[in-house]
């Protein structure tokens, strides 16, 4: 298995070559290049096949045809992989274009795939009796599910349902959350280094081997690649904590591990020694895991303690708590003047816009002018996209709904406890993600209590029921948790996932959450997906 890249295909004595790709035009160009450079004289000649994930795309095949290579493919098929498991409680479609397609281009293909994924899930884990949703896309997905079920009556299965409730949430119901900087451990790793398919690449300096025997070696120059998931005991424990609470856990762990290694001095009998030795592999794994996360935490700390991180966070928190959202912000102006990365600027300006239900025309015009003058006029296209997506807009009707929403949903908590949290607001050190608050309020006391606020948020909210045969209806045991599948249409952040996991673990919570999404996002990747692709700069 090779990664797709332009140029000649690696030589290999094989008969068949299968391209396993997303249906994207830029990938088709690479494939074309591969095929055209294939040595025709070689023998045996290799056969090409193409497998699209999750769907064949006419557009791509047409593209290949225009390049004159379509005929080279003996099989053109699809591999219907909709939802990919990322962890015990997390599924993602990894379709980064989903938000843009849904909200900018009104292309609902990714919703169709989401619905299909949900049908598959129901076939495996039983029909979900209750569906709740908020937003236009949520409505669409629910409609499609109902329609698919009706059209395939054979799909009625006899599996005892695992999920009690499905909650479909549109990303545009909560545009605010992804814009803010995530402050959980995993969230920060993603914000700073970017987690891709559960892997993160880190600067190697802090991971240099410390053993004396290898001391003479040069520092590694390749980025250090680590896999991050809950199979790693320590990571499972700290990933969802506020970063400020990670240090103490790490130092506690360090003490426990060194104490465990000390035990060997107390091992007197052969039996005790044997027992110690049998634990060694586990202990060594724990030690290397601890070393890795200590290094990562150090890397992150360097950044979180920097002045600029602090200033940026201060402005974000001011906006989210409703301070000075209606005028031009000094810090943003300064950042533009110093040519900070454009995405950072856009995140802040959009955050301000969302926290003010749109900016005053004068303020908006001012920001736009500064951005265009500093970063180039062609970004007018990106600004336009952001406007279309509702992230950046002029205030209409002169009404700012955000304060009402903030107060009713208790989105801003002043007394946040980062070490031993009692509320989901710990994931952003004060701001409780709106999306997760909606999930929490749905479980208890129900959405009826927040009708007014729901009406202020975009799109319809609804409830559907899917009939189950009487034999499959659940008889709930006392104290048994309900299971809710929350599907984020348009992406979800690690901090939101952390908040939902926190709710799952609450002792009196009564609800466990499984999370599904079209894509794992953070503010940067999200804004990037909305930016106009510009030609590469001349240098």
């Amino acid at each position: 298995m090779f990664t797709l890249k332009p140029g000649r295909l690696p030589p290999a004595d094989v008969k068949n070559i299968i391209f396993f790709v997303r249906p994207k035009l830029e990938l088709m160009d690479i494939i074309t290049d591969n095929v055209l450079r294939e040595d025709r004289g070689r023998s045996p000649q290799r056969d090409f096949h193409i497998l699209f994930v999750p769907r064949r795309s006419l557009l791509c095949e047409q593209w290949l045809k225009e390049q004159g290579v379509l005929g080279s493919f003996i099989h053109r098929e699809q591999y219907s992989l909709d939802l990919i498991p990322f962890d015990g409680d997390l599924l993602s479609m990894e379709s980064e274009g989903a938000f843009k397609e849904c909200y900018l281009e009104s292309d609902q293909t990714s919703l169709y795939h989401a619905a299909k994924g949900l049908m598959t899930l129901q076939a495996l884990y039983g029909t979900i009796p209750q569906i709740f949703g908020k937003g236009d896309c949520a409505r669409h997905v629910a409609n499609m599910m109902i329609r698919m079920k009706r059209e395939f009556p054979g799909s009625q299965n006899s599996i005892f349902p695992v999920f009690d409730t499905l909650l479909l949430l549109d990303r545009n119901v909560d545009l605010l959350t992804p814009l803010a900087t995530q402050l959980t451990y995993e969230g920060l790793i993603d914000e700073i280094y970017g987690i891709q398919n559960t892997y993160v690449k880190l600067p190697p300096e802090k991971f240099a081997p410390k053993k004396q025997g290898e001391g003479g070696k040069d520092l590694p120059t390749e980025p250090k690649k680590l896999q991050l998931n809950s199979a790693e005991e320590l990571y499972a424990e700290i990933r969802d904590k506020n970063f400020n609470a990670v240090g103490s856990v790490l130092s506690k762990k360090a003490k426990i591990i060194s104490a465990a290694f000390e035990e060997r001095h107390h091992a007197k009998t052969v039996g005790e020694i044997k027992q110690f030795v049998s634990q060694l592999p586990h202990m060594q794994a724990a030690r290397s895991s601890l070393a890795n996360h200590t290094s990562i935490a150090e890397l992150i700390k360097d950044i979180t303690t920097s002045e600029d991180f602090f200033d940026n966070l201060t402005v974000e928190q001011e906006f989210m708590s409703g301070i000075d959202t209606d005028k031009v912000n000094n810090y943003i102006e300064d950042c533009i003047a110093q040519k900070h990365p454009l995405i950072k600027i856009l995140r802040l300006v959009c955050l301000q816009s969302v926290c003010n239900s749109g900016l005053k025309q004068k303020v908006l015009d001012h920001y736009k002018r500064e951005i265009l003058q500093t970063y180039g006029y062609e970004h007018i296209l990106t600004l336009n996209n952001l406007e279309k997506a509702g992230l950046l807009k002029p205030q209409t009707g002169g009404r700012n709904n955000y304060p009402t929403i903030r107060k009713t949903l208790r989105l801003w908590m002043d007394d946040v406890n980062e070490q031993n949290p009692n509320d989901i607001s710990y994931v952003y050190s004060g701001y409780a993600p709106l999306s997760v608050r909606l999930a929490q309020l749905l479980a208890r006391p129900g959405w009826r209590s927040i009708e007014e606020v729901l009406k202020m948020l975009p799109g319809p909210h609804f409830e559907e029921r899917q009939q189950l045969p009487t034999g499959l209806q659940k008889k709930r045991q006392q104290g048994e948790n309900r299971v809710t599948l929350v599907f984020f249409l348009g992406g979800v952040t690690y901090a939101e996932i952390a908040a939902l996991r926190f709710l799952s673990q609450m002792e009196d919570g009564g609800t466990e959450y499984i999370i599904a999404t079209t894509k794992l996002i953070n503010g940067t990747t999200w804004i990037k997906s909305l930016m106009e692709k510009l030609e590469p700069a001349p240098f």
């Binding site: 055209l36 294939e38 064949r56 669409h140 265009l372």
Partner: protein, 491 residues
């Protein structure tokens, strides 16, 4: 044969596996591999043939024109659709429809030969490749048969089959009514791939006005078509559509976007000039105008400066060779450039900073910041001083910084300004705490000492004595202040 096929189809329709796409794999099992490969291999021969047929039936516009290429793309996709008829009707159809001989050795070897050919040929060569076409008549038969029996599918069934990655011929939907029903079914299915397929078909078979009119009341389909046109770069068709819909701002933006594909600066400039009159929003119009003016200036400046640099006469350019051309740079970068290389020029010159400032109404703050950075980089401290000095009508001078003196200090420090220069501006920082911090950080001892004196803070001043060099002028200064009996220390 078709009966067998229908039965099988019915079986799958009623199967509970229907909700998934497993049926494809099942079909596959019933297939002879050799046969499938043979059929597949013939696909593009059939396609090529199709293309020829399509072209004959078109209105006869010259090949290569934009509208021709639109049709070309459209037909390309439909024929690849048709191509799938023969190639991808998983086993049951293609296998059933194809006589068994067709799967024999000779056909697959034919494919190999063809493959070799195509590797040396461009697409257009392939289209007119007569050697290949000789085989076509025989090959078209299975497809025709297939079409026949598929003709009784309803729009709904057609859409459903397409959703499952199978391919149906859409040609039999002849009346406008039928086509629209098909489109509505596709839209109801929400599968973009299918919607696009149907749209390509409609785009090819309907008159533009009719297509546009019908799409206007079908917003979802409309969005898909717009997206499709954008992806495939069918700019003219797209603009026609947007104009028809009266979405003028989108027309304007969409047209403006095109400039990104123009590499040649002169052409790009001309193009941007043409964009000025487009119906943008009022705010955007001025930005587009500025974009044009900026590029126009940049072209003039670039030509001049390249000449200057080549001639090697200008010391500035010799000492600080340009890292890149100024073309297509943002406004602020251009201003920096002009402050760097053309600072002293008279306002009448296009490349002078003051001219840029006026033309683009650059705010004072932005101007001072940029000019400061440029002059500091050249270590032209005199210019820095002049930039921050204002004269009132009586002729008194005063230092003023619209960006705040702490920022001035930051910029100067970043450019390694000497302490004497730095200290002058540190002294002007208004906030005492910031001033102390900056002064301590950058070792502006005089400022630290004077500030503590003004604060009457004996303790801090005494402590600071240990930080300056022994026997230095600063130490003496501190000593003098500390022994000054007239100061009323607060501690």
């Amino acid at each position: 044969m078709s009966r067998v096929r229908a039965d099988e189809e019915e079986y799958w329709h009623s199967s509970k596996f229907r909700a998934f796409t497993f049926d494809d794999e099942d079909d596959e099992l019933s297939q002879l591999k050799e046969s499938k490969r043979a059929v597949n291999s013939l696909r593009d021969i059939v396609d090529d043939d199709d293309d020829d047929l399509e072209r004959v039936s078109w209105s006869g516009e010259p090949v290569g024109s934009i509208s021709w290429s639109i049709k070309e793309t459209a037909s390309g996709s439909t024929s690849s659709l048709d191509g799938r008829d023969s190639s991808l009707q998983k086993g049951s159809s293609s296998y059933a429809a194809l006589p068994k001989q067709a799967s024999s050795y000779s056909l697959s070897s034919l494919f190999k030969g063809r493959n070799k050919l195509s590797s040396f040929q461009s697409l257009s060569d392939a289209l007119t490749d007569t050697g290949v076409k000789n085989y076509a008549p025989e090959l078209r038969r299975p497809k025709a048969e297939y079409k026949d029996y598929s003709s009784d599918w309803s729009p709904k069934d057609t859409v459903r089959r397409m959703q499952r990655g199978k391919v149906c011929s859409l040609e039999r939907f002849r009346s406008l009514q039928d086509k629209l029903v098909l489109l509505d079914e596709a839209v109801a299915g929400h599968d973009g791939n299918v919607i696009t397929a149907v749209l390509i078909f409609l785009k090819r078979t309907l008159r533009r006005e009719i297509l546009f009119r019908e799409l206007e009341v079908r917003q979802v389909a409309l969005c898909h078509l717009i997206h499709f046109l954008r992806e495939t770069g069918e700019q003219k068709f797209l603009l026609d559509l947007l104009r028809f819909l009266d979405r003028t701002e989108e027309v304007a933006l969409s047209q403006y976007r095109e400039h990104l594909n123009i590499q040649d600066v002169e052409k790009r400039r001309e193009f941007l000039k043409g964009c000025i009159g487009l119906p943008f929003s009022a705010e955007d119009t001025s930005h587009i105008q500025d974009h044009y003016t900026l590029l126009e200036r940049q072209i003039i400046i670039e030509a001049n400066d390249r000449h200057l640099e080549m001639a090697g006469q200008s010391e500035l350019f010799r000492k600080y060779p340009r890292k890149a051309s100024i073309l297509n740079m943002p406004l602020v970068t251009t201003l920096f450039y002009s402050c760097f290389y053309h600072y002293t020029e008279a306002e009448g010159m296009f490349s002078s900073p003051t001219n840029l400032k006026k033309t683009f109404k650059i705010p004072d703050k932005q101007y001072v910041l940029t000019a400061l950075a440029a002059r500091a980089k050249l270590r032209a401290w005199g210019d820095v001083d002049a930039l921050l000095t204002t004269k009132n009508w009586l002729g008194y001078t005063k230092k003023k910084a619209p960006i705040g003196f702490h920022r001035v200090v930051e910029i100067l420090q970043r450019n390694n300004a000497p302490v004497q220069v730095l200290q002058e501006y540190v002294r002007l920082v208004e906030d005492v705490e910031t001033r102390l911090n900056l002064a301590t950080k950058y070792k502006c001892h005089d400022v630290v000492i004077e500030t503590y004196r003004d604060l009457k803070d004996r303790v801090q001043l005494t402590a600071y004595k240990s930080k300056v060099e022994r026997g230095s002028a600063e130490e003496e200064k501190i000593q003098n202040i500390l022994s000054n009996m007239q100061i009323r220390w607060k501690n």
